[in-house]
């Protein structure tokens, strides 16, 4: 079982994702440089957070052009599990692997804080065993995390069970106050129609150990390990 952690110029949560996978969860992980055109031999792909190409044009815009993104597309089409975290989510949106777009936070400020998420579906490889309604405490850290899609797309996402996480208060109520960036319908994470590609703004890799203030993020990686185990079994 081996996970790829993609590295683009400007990725900066790559080491954190690697640490969470390898040293906390204990699954094999390897950095993959963005110029690599294949993901053969990997069982799952993590697109970590950061500021690829400085986020200078739009977050994720330039990274989507890297050779490795072609490989990610093929990997996803083959049903392989892909998680894009923060900038990774933005890259998946820009690459068209997930619908919608990100605009700047409605506060116009970067926000780094713990937030609460309400799980919406357990059908992704990363949320298996995290039933709908579960409340997770996970930090966000971004400047452009204000999820946008037109009304029709939003409705489709909801109907097809593609909304994986919403921002909520500690009790699980999806409120305006608990939305840190203005995202449409409090959306914090969505998956592809098939469910194997997950994009989320919050950072599970940052809260995989109790010492970090929460270990809820670890549940996503544990779910992945279980899912992969079932698939190979």
């Amino acid at each position: 079982m081996k996970t790829a952690v993609l590295v683009f110029p400007g990725s900066n949560c790559d080491h954190d994702a690697y640490h969470a996978l390898k040293h906390v969860v204990g699954v094999d992980a390897e950095f993959v440089w963005h110029k690599q055109g294949t993901l053969d031999g990997f069982d799952a792909v993590v697109i970590p957070g950061g500021f690829t190409y400085g986020d200078y044009l739009r977050s994720g815009a330039m990274a989507k052009l890297s050779p490795v993104m072609g490989a990610v597309r093929r990997f996803a089409e083959g049903g392989g599990p892909v998680i894009g975290i923060c900038n990774g989510f933005q890259i998946l949106l820009e690459a068209g692997l997930l619908p919608g777009a990100m605009i700047v936070n409605d506060s116009l400020r970067f926000v780094c804080d713990y937030v609460h998420l309400r799980a919406g579906t357990d059908r992704t490889p990363f949320t298996r065993g995290i039933p709908e309604g579960t409340i997770l405490k996970i930090p966000v850290a971004h400047y452009q995390g204000n999820y946008y899609a037109d009304e029709q797309t939003l409705s489709f996402l909801e109907e097809r069970g593609q909304v994986v996480f919403r921002y909520c208060d500690p009790e699980g109520n999806v409120t305006r106050e608990s939305n840190p960036n203005g995202s449409a319908r409090n959306i914090a994470g969505i998956c592809s129609e098939a469910g194997n590609v997950l994009g989320m703004m919050p950072h599970p890799e940052r809260c995989s150990e109790e010492a970090m203030g929460s270990a809820d993020g670890r549940r996503l990686f544990d779910a992945l390990v279980a899912w992969l185990g079932e698939r190979t079994a």
């Binding site: 739009r58 777009a101 409605d106 116009l108 899609a149």
Partner: protein, 80 residues
């Protein structure tokens, strides 16, 4: 040769900076502004490749990189 590209948000897409600017202007006592939409503007210097070819290449650049057509639209102006 020179070209300009204007990238603006589509109608209906929320524009937080535009909204904030409008509010700030009225705080500053600058009245009469009803709406502000913020976009990007690129000044491009090109090799002499002719207007048509330039437009073709910049159009491709916009579609593939410079604009996100989910939320933005673009306009190319060659010369000037």
């Amino acid at each position: 040769m020179k070209a300009k590209i204007y990238v603006t948000l589509k109608r209906g897409v929320l524009d937080p900076p535009g909204k904030a600017i409008r509010a700030s202007l009225s705080h500053l006592g600058i009245d009469g502004v009803e709406d502000v939409r913020v976009g990007k503007f690129m000044e491009i210097t090109l090799k002499e490749i002719g207007v048509d070819e330039a437009r073709r290449r910049l159009d491709e650049a916009c579609r593939r990189l410079l604009a996100n057509t989910v939320i933005e639209e673009y306009r190319i102006e060659i010369g000037g």
